[in-house]
């Protein structure tokens, strides 16, 4: 065999660890978790693609139902919070504690604002008669589409898919914000140092992944 020489070992917490893929456990675990998240969103996005394009199913024009400019702004917010997250990571890896805390606060604010805007969007849509079970008869949206002579077919599936996909994304962002608050508190307590800041990187991966999913969702749900 003679493969003895290959692996390299490092010490963590008194135990010898072989870094099989050259990545520490927290980061590896997070990536594995993200792989499963990819499959989860595959189920939801795949269902959307199949329901909408798998047959000659009618579908309302999303740009006529949803507020694109508002959501574009929201997308921008999420991208900004992703940037602030990497800036926080860059700061801590240079030993800049103040930078870390400020950028983390900015990230929390960005995420929270995204959720806030989404809640506003939901309330607005529900008020206008867009429900998970479809557009309410006589609701604002239904009236507007009919008045404009636009087709409303497939609105039941549209409502279901829209709320399920964006809802689960929103749920992920909300969980992310909660975790991020916790991380921020820890950062203010000086938990992360230039030598030890794996937590920042790991939570950052989750945060960017949620951003990445939103980039896909925004394109498919709002723009197609």
């Amino acid at each position: 065999m003679g493969a003895d020489a290959r692996p390299q070992f490092r010490m963590t917490h008194g135990r010898q660890v072989e870094y099989g893929l050259g990545v520490y456990s927290g980061k590896l675990g997070m990536w594995v978790f993200l792989c499963s998240e990819v499959m989860f969103f595959t189920a939801l996005i795949g269902a959307y693609i199949i329901l909408r394009w798998g047959s000659s199913q009618a579908w309302p024009d999303p740009t006529k139902v949803l507020n694109i400019s508002l959501t574009a702004f929201n997308t921008f917010l999420l991208i900004c919070s992703s940037v602030s997250m990497v800036k926080a990571y860059a700061a801590v890896s240079h030993g800049d504690q103040r930078g870390l805390r400020l950028w983390l606060l900015a990230t929390v604010a960005g995420g929270a604002a995204f959720v806030g805007v989404q809640v506003y969007e939901y309330l607005h849509l529900i008020h206008a008669g867009v429900l998970p079970s479809g557009f309410r008869e006589g609701g604002e949206i239904m009236e507007a589409l009919t008045r404009a002579g636009l087709p409303t077919g497939g609105h039941e599936l549209f409502g279901a898919a829209f709320f399920t996909m964006t809802g689960f994304h929103g749920f992920h962002v909300s969980c992310g914000v909660l975790c991020m608050i916790w991380v921020t508190v820890k950062a203010f307590r000086g938990h992360y140092t230039q030598a030890h800041h794996e937590g920042i990187e790991v939570i950052g991966l989750y945060w960017h992944f949620v951003d990445l999913v939103w980039i896909i969702l925004f394109t498919i749900v709002y723009l197609f």
């Binding site: 493969a3 963590t12 010898q16 893929l21 189920a43 939801l44 079970s133 599936l157 399920t164």
Partner: protein
């Protein structure tokens, strides 16, 4: 990592720095992988018993349709008026039997108990990479199990759309007559998915990152290989089920229309998503069993496993192909015939790596010195029975033959030959084999062999005739076969199966007695009662918190049995091969 590591001499010393943990921390909310494994063991054995009891009710109705079952009067007038099982209750039984067995018994046994127990011990790690997540993975199974059990007692009965919960049957109380039970089923599966996810993240990370020095990939025991690949399957397949079940749940409670055709929803979307999860799930249920059996066959034969590398590649091959075969559950659903052909080809190809494994096990036994201890008997039974399940699968893979046997008892026979004859015999083998390590005491061999032989005979008497039922066209999941004239002559066969099933259930009594008796009165096991090579046998039974006093150094593969240069017929992985006298 320049972390301050005060104790560089291993986790045992590390643990000494802490005060003795409280009882609650040590045995209930424990983060020790061994305790969690044992929690999973009791949890899933409980569900195994409940699932088995439900099967007895099912078999009573099929063996003696319309006759009152002794003692069934206690189930109440909704379920069994006058002791006669009602149709709705019957379908609930069929649904919950499969749900309990698959999600709450066999899967937690294999990837809860054995994965948790074996992975760190076999790779020489002190614990899992994320012990706290590991604890959560067990404690999430509690609400999942409670939700699943609640189905039996809620108003309106348990879920009654089969464990496959085909839409649109599962969508609406109008179709099933079930109100809350179907929602509970969905919730339970969703929570189960979260638990499975946490477990799998742990297993993958642990196996990649926490192997002891020298434990290179091709020195990993086959059980660890199998569990690793299984965890990968789970991490990628279970979220699909979660997504599908959540959409089903929304259809039920938010009145969405994902699977309802009236406004364009797709009933077949459910089937595709379900089986895209469901077929990898089948391999999640069998690969760890194969791994366990590989360990025990090598040990019982006192020989290296035949073709170790091929065995590893076969596991990977099965897992890889397993992603491309889900459509073979849907040949008669109105699927595009071209798609059907491609699914048929990928399905029959899975027979190849599977055959390799079977023949390699036989090659391992060839010219061995078979030590027929109870685990070994169960492992050989696994091979013998799994072969039947594998071969009957070829009938279904052949699309035209499937047209006839689809949804008949042939399928029921097949799944039980794979899941009971396969997974469950392997689980019994594993329990008998690692019980000494888990509890420090041997299980009784005499009772073990009694359990094995009675189970083996009763099992075959129960499930083999089901092939005949299927060939005669007997549909599955029907409450009373006598509603069809062409099934009436099969009644004696059905009665025979039922009597055998009762015997099979009764045959588990020696196991239960043995288990609890040995827990307290079994012969002390010592460190390595089976004279095995795995790292888990180099530590005391049961192993202390942190497992290894010193991180072991792995010097060779796990199957160095009967090496010509050794004195004993085994060589633990941390022991060097003696220098050849002539060299």
């Amino acid at each position: 990592m320049t972390a301050s590591t005060p104790t560089a001499h291993g986790p045992a010393g590390h643990a000494d720095h802490h005060a003795e943990p409280s009882f609650l921390r040590k045995y209930v909310f424990s983060t020790d992988h061994k305790v969690i494994a044992i929690q999973f063991l009791f949890y899933s054995l409980f569900f195994l018993l409940v699932g088995g009891a439900l099967a007895m009710l099912i078999r009573w109705q099929l063996g003696f349709p319309g006759q009152p079952m002794p003692g069934a009067g206690v189930l109440g007038d909704d379920a069994a008026p006058g002791g006669v099982i009602a149709p709705k209750f019957y379908i609930g039984l069929v649904t919950m039997h499969a749900t309990y067995m698959i999600f709450f018994a066999v899967m937690p046994l294999l990837v809860g108990t054995f994965a948790n127990y074996l992975i760190p011990l076999k790779i020489g790690a002190p614990d899992m990479a994320f012990p706290r997540l590991n604890m959560w993975s067990f404690w999430l199974m509690i609400p999942a199990g409670v939700l699943a059990l609640a189905g039996l007692v809620v108003e309106g009965g348990s879920a009654a759309a089969g464990w496959t919960a085909y839409a649109p049957l599962a969508n609406s109380p109008d179709y099933t007559g079930v109100t809350g039970g179907q929602v509970l089923w969905c919730l339970s599966i969703a929570v189960f998915a979260a638990s499975s996810l946490l477990g799998s993240v742990n297993y993958i990370t642990t196996i990649i990152n926490m192997r002891a020095p020298g434990m290179v990939w091709f020195r990993l025991p086959l059980s660890v290989w199998a569990l690793f690949i299984t965890a990968i399957l789970a991490i990628l397949a279970v979220p699909i089920l979660a997504g599908a079940v959540i959409m089903l749940l929304f259809d039920q409670i938010l009145h969405t229309h994902f699977y309802l055709p009236a406004v364009g929803g797709q009933p077949l979307l459910w089937q595709h998503l379900f089986w895209f999860f469901g077929h990898p799930e089948v391999y999640i249920l069998i690969l760890p069993a194969m791994g366990i059996v590989s360990e025990i066959i090598a040990n019982g034969s006192r020989k290296p496993i035949f073709g170790y590398h091929t065995m590893v590649y076969a596991i990977c091959g099965i897992a890889f192909l397993g992603w491309m075969v889900w459509g073979h559950h849907m040949f008669q659903s109105g699927m595009n015939p071209i798609l059907g052909t491609s699914f048929m080809v990928s399905t029959v190809l899975i027979a190849v790596p599977t055959a390799i494994k079977v023949f390699n096990w036989m090659g391992t036994m060839w010219r061995g010195r078979l030590w027929l201890h109870t685990p070994m008997l169960n492992a050989i039974a696994f091979v013998a029975m799994f072969v039947i399940g594998g071969l009957s699968g070829i009938f279904m893979a052949s699309t035209p033959v499937d047209m006839y046997i689809h949804d008949t008892y042939f399928i029921v026979a097949h799944i039980h030959y794979v899941l009971f004859g396969g997974s469950l015999f392997a689980i019994f083998a594993g329990i008998y084999f690692w019980f000494p390590k888990m509890f420090g005491r041997m299980m009784n061999e005499r009772l073990g062999k009694l359990h094995f032989w009675t189970t083996f005979v009763a099992y075959n008497a129960t499930f083999f005739p089901m092939h005949l039922l299927g060939i005669a066209g007997h549909m599955r999941r029907i409450y009373d076969p006598n509603a069809y004239q062409f099934l009436q002559p099969l009644q004696p066969l059905n009665t025979f199966i039922s009597v055998s099933a009762f015997a099979l259930f009764a045959a588990q009594l020696p196991f239960i007695v043995n288990f609890f008796w040995s827990l307290f009165r079994g012969r002390p096991a010592g460190m390595n009662p089976w004279r095995d090579n795995g790292l888990e046998w180099t530590v005391p039974s049961p192993p202390p918190h942190g497992n290894f006093a010193h991180t072991p150094r792995v010097l060779h593969g796990p199957y160095e049995f009967s090496h010509p240069d050794t004195v004993e017929d085994f060589l633990p992985q941390d022991q060097p091969l003696p220098a050849r006298p002539g060299a």
